[in-house]
Symmetry: C2
């Protein structure tokens, strides 16, 4: 759809939005149409960049009146194609970056949807608080996008997902009306919690324009350890120990040897924390509000883990720089795979107790399906979320491997579902996982979701194509 074919009510927005708010220049639009890994390439007649909630309302009303579809976008860091328009009007929230309020007494920040996660971290630090959501893309990812996708990250085991941090929400609904529920309240039992529908809805039920987020006291001390292990069963035992014996665990990340090998090989400036290779590793972070006691507790816990044979070897970061270099091994796990060729990637979760079984069965099934696959498994074992990447066999032509993507996805997703797991732990459904979602979701839940979509967005103008095929 070209601008010239947009309904006049939508084209009329150009005057009120001004040159910063109404963008047709293809060169300016281009970066927002391609997903950063190059998997999706989009198209849009116009990029709308409102500077206020009032302007978002005006835009959505014009689109609702004319049945014009909208794709809302934050930092364009999504991984499932949900932010890429295919002919829809592209509605970017990136100009709405204001921090409307910040309070240590309320432990809360109210911020507009286009603010980056990093800017919220920085603001919270000024009042000695923390917003305990951390992910690699935090310099680009925006609050609106993070709420719309219910972002996860490495500290979910302690603080939960984005959903837990949202105290209040302001949004423009698909009919252009405004949901006014910004507030720092911890307790509000007045009817159904409507904001929960918008959290994780991937922009299909409205446009989030601002949010009030819960802040936490900033920990006094962190301890980061890197452990070498025999297998995921040892990791599971160590996880229970680390959580139960310290009460201070903030992250527990599993790393397979192949993935670490790729990092050491492909990412400059990294080094193996150990002299010898081991089959599995975990990176654990602890945090405490007492200075000086955490290290001893962790050391004692690790000693018992070594005694029990759960841990083969361990490195404890002695300072922030060492902690950062250990974390880097984990964070580069995705980029390090690139030079090794294509992979069928998955973002599954299972109950923590089932992670070893999932890994064993998925490895066997994928290797049986396509011998020679090179599997990189890593992720947030503390919350049961495994990024399970099935790399193409060495030397296989790209176009051959592409035909295997579908069958591999089916095997991995069926297994996760079979273990009461999820086929999308944190990345969402987008357009990438719609079919497996419709196939594997509880039918009553799925039917209810479609009913809610039809109720709130009867014209299906809010991010159509996303979630439902």
């Amino acid at each position: 759809m070209a601008v010239s074919t947009l309904p006049p009510q939508v084209r009329a927005l150009q005057a009120s939005l001004g040159p910063k708010g109404w963008v047709e220049d293809p060169a300016v639009i281009a970066p927002w149409l391609s997903e950063w890994r190059g998997r999706w390439q989009g198209a849009t007649p116009v990029l709308l960049q409102p500077s206020s909630t009032d302007e978002v309302e005006v835009i959505v009303r014009a689109c609702a009146e004319t049945g014009t579809a909208i794709t809302p976008q934050g930092g364009n860091t999504g991984l499932v194609g949900g932010q890429t328009p295919q002919g829809e009007v592209l509605l970017s929230l990136r100009r709405m970056t204001a921090i409307r309020s910040l309070s240590a007494t309320d432990d809360a920040i109210t911020v507009e949807a286009g603010a980056t996660l990093q800017s919220v971290h920085d603001a919270a630090a000024t009042i000695a608080r923390t917003m305990p959501l951390s992910l690699a893309s935090q310099g680009s990812a925006t609050i609106g996008g993070l709420i719309s996708t219910n972002a996860g990250g490495v500290h979910v085991v302690r603080y939960g997902m984005m959903r837990r941090m949202v105290l209040g929400l302001e949004a423009v609904m698909p009919d252009g009306s405004r949901l006014n529920q910004l507030s720092a309240l911890r307790k509000d039992n007045t009817g159904y919690d409507i904001k929960q529908l918008l959290i994780g809805a991937e922009g299909t039920l409205g446009v989030i324009t601002a949010a009030t987020l819960e802040l936490q006291p900033r920990p006094e001390e962190r301890v980061v350890v890197f452990c070498a292990l025999t297998d995921p069963l040892a990791a599971r035992a160590l996880l229970a120990r680390a959580k139960g014996e310290t009460g201070s665990m903030a992250a527990f990340e599993l790393i397979g040897r192949r993935g670490l090998g790729y990092v050491l090989k492909n990412i400059p400036g990294t080094r193996d924390p150990f002299e010898d290779p081991y089959p599995w590793y975990v990176l654990i972070e602890f945090e405490a509000h007492e200075y000086g006691v955490l290290r001893k507790t962790v050391d004692e816990m690790l000693a018992r883990g070594l005694d029990a044979g759960e841990v083969l070897d361990v490195v404890v970061a002695q300072n922030d720089a060492q902690a950062a270099s250990l974390w880097r091994l984990r964070e580069e796990m995705s980029s390090a795979q690139k030079p090794e060729g294509r992979a069928a990637k998955h973002d599954v979760s299972v109950p923590v107790s089932s992670v070893p079984e999932f890994l064993a069965r998925a490895d066997a099934a994928c290797s049986a399906l396509l011998p020679g696959v090179r599997i990189v498994a890593f992720g947030h074992m503390g919350d049961g979320n495994i990024h399970y990447d099935v790399g193409m066999p060495a030397g296989m032509p790209d176009e051959d491997f592409l035909t295997w993507l579908g069958p591999i996805h089916t095997v991995v997703h069926d297994l996760a579902a079979n273990l009461s797991g999820s086929i999308s732990a944190e990345h969402g459904i987008g357009v990438a996982r719609r079919e497996d979602f419709s196939r594997l979701e509880d039918p009553v839940a799925y039917k209810t979701m479609k009913g809610i979509k039809a109720l709130l967005d009867p014209q299906c103008i809010m991010n159509p194509r996303v979630l439902f095929p």
Copy 2:
């Protein structure tokens, strides 16, 4: 409606449910028709007590087919009349008490709706975990009811409300279909989070039959302190200090002098922790996973609070018995008011920073409206939730005071709304607060709620009369 006038499809349930599941004896039914404070008295043709989710399905299907209304009930401890049928079939979940699974590795328990909170506490303790929801009625209140009302309690400031603890849910929807989303997953971003609609819906969107709840590591140590203060502004300053300087605060309860005076006067076996009376008090609980360091941190924080003039005097519990007797002063706050006559009770919340302003303005407004009112304010200041009870002036006849209830509710609720607060922080809407809810709720949220009710329960058979007038 008598049993004889129930549709034959519903009467036919008698055979399949058996004598334990189908109860017509008025003597057996009677206790479940009256609210424990005597505010609501109900009526029902029959008490249904299914023993399984299958039986709940059969019941709801028969009712859906015939448009027969149902009031679901747990422990009958609700405070807003939501559990009391007025002619509806009474569906009690109390026979469904099984603990289906319990896992320290997953930090999760799966339990049927009729299990009491106490039984979940006890089960969690057997694996050295805790389910950090605590309230006075935990021996009677059931998991289904606690989820349906999104229960709060004294530890919300640290652990959040019931909503945060629900990992998975099984429910029978108003059409008799079963939502199968029991799972211990921490992360699941597949579409809208449907279970969030049922949490806090007060039985209006379906019948919760089982849930998977998140457990926490059990703290090694608790410290309970009771502080005397000048005013709520000092309490607010102390709250920020206690939270920020220890990172270990688990409860922060505000208590006004009049309320404490009633406890000391009307509850046998209680004593004032201090020699002299003070205008305000706070009870603070801290918890830690390190043994032996918490007390020192708390002592240092209190010393700074005394230096700053926030604290006038303080008692630190030296053992569990002392901690229990301090907690008792707080827990008897409601019962202690009974001998003093009627009161207009409120369960409001405002942002923590606005609690002092709320108290000052509410006191002024209520005293201006009805001179001589005896106000008892107490509650969970740590999360902004104040139980604000406006007692009748001494000597006023009951029937006179009853005419003041409506005007007092209006003044207090309007003020809470005016401060971006909630007219029902934790008790829910039920039938008691429907009118103020419809008047003060954000209109877009309210309209959305009514739409969802009509979508999921088009015949309005699930707890009709509750939430919406």
